[in-house]
């Protein structure tokens, strides 16, 4: 079955520390990849997405992610986090036609990030 794994469920960092959140998916075919974020009390927002082209994707608020096809990974990074980055982060994958149910998103379990001032 298609699945998405996020390596860390809880991450605690101090401001200015670097962030890397891992995401791996199970399917070897064509995929679309997303990172969503949910700030406290707010709805899910798109951070960045990868459909094709340059595997290094830049998103909002200084976030970036790198698609490594050989590793089935799409890790999220930020060089210097701020207190306002405290949120829950979700990796999601949309699998291509032919793999069944290609429009739905398969989500990882989420990573709760707490940034301390």
């Amino acid at each position: 079955a298609q699945s998405v794994s996020q390596h860390n469920h809880h991450v605690i960092l101090s401001e200015a520390a670097s962030l890397e959140l891992g995401c791996n998916y199970s399917y070897g075919g064509t995929v679309n990849l997303f990172w969503y974020v949910q700030y406290p009390g707010q709805h899910l927002q798109l951070l960045l997405k990868y459909f094709s082209g340059d595997p290094l994707v830049k998103g909002i608020k200084g976030f970036e992610a790198e698609f490594i096809k050989s590793k089935f990974s799409f890790n999220l990074r930020k060089p210097s986090v701020q207190w306002s980055d405290t949120a829950e982060y979700f990796c999601a994958v949309n699998f291509a036609r032919g793999s069944g149910g290609y429009n739905k998103l398969i989500f990882g379990a989420g990573t709760r990030l707490a940034v301390h001032p």
Binding site: F34, H43, N94, A96, Y102, N103, K104, L105
Partner: protein, 118 residues
């Protein structure tokens, strides 16, 4: 441009009762999705509408759940009768038309409805 809206934001009902959740997608978005997150678990797909037609309902838990999208605009998700395990946050998302490659564009999420079944 207004985003995806959901109503109510919270609902507390007793086991055996009926609840109806509503989702209004972004205007012009043909695709509408329902997802659910049970406490401590991942967000899981329930079903997908293209306009008023159900494209994929493989994630619907059982026949106590009924989703409709009359006229291809807003959608409702009814749970009847509700059980304790139905508690969770129900998200709605919408996206524009499917691309020529068959891949759907970015899905935009609503704020969710938190359902508590006592």
């Amino acid at each position: 441009e207004a985003g995806v809206t959901q109503f109510p934001s919270h609902s507390v009902i007793e086991k055996g009762q009926t609840v109806t959740l509503r989702c209004d997608p972004i205007s012009g978005h043909d695709n509408l999705y329902w997802y659910r997150r049970v406490m401590g678990k991942e967000i899981k797909f329930l079903l997908h509408f293209v306009k008023e037609s159900k494209q994929d309902e493989s994630g619907m838990p059982n026949n106590r759940f009924l989703a409709e999208r009359t006229g291809g605009t807003y959608s409702t998700l009814k749970v009847q009768p509700a059980e304790l395990e139905d508690s969770g946050v129900y998200f709605c998302a919408s996206s524009q038309a499917v691309r020529a490659s068959g891949i759907t564009d970015t899905q935009y999420f609503g704020p969710g409805t938190r359902l508590t079944v006592l």
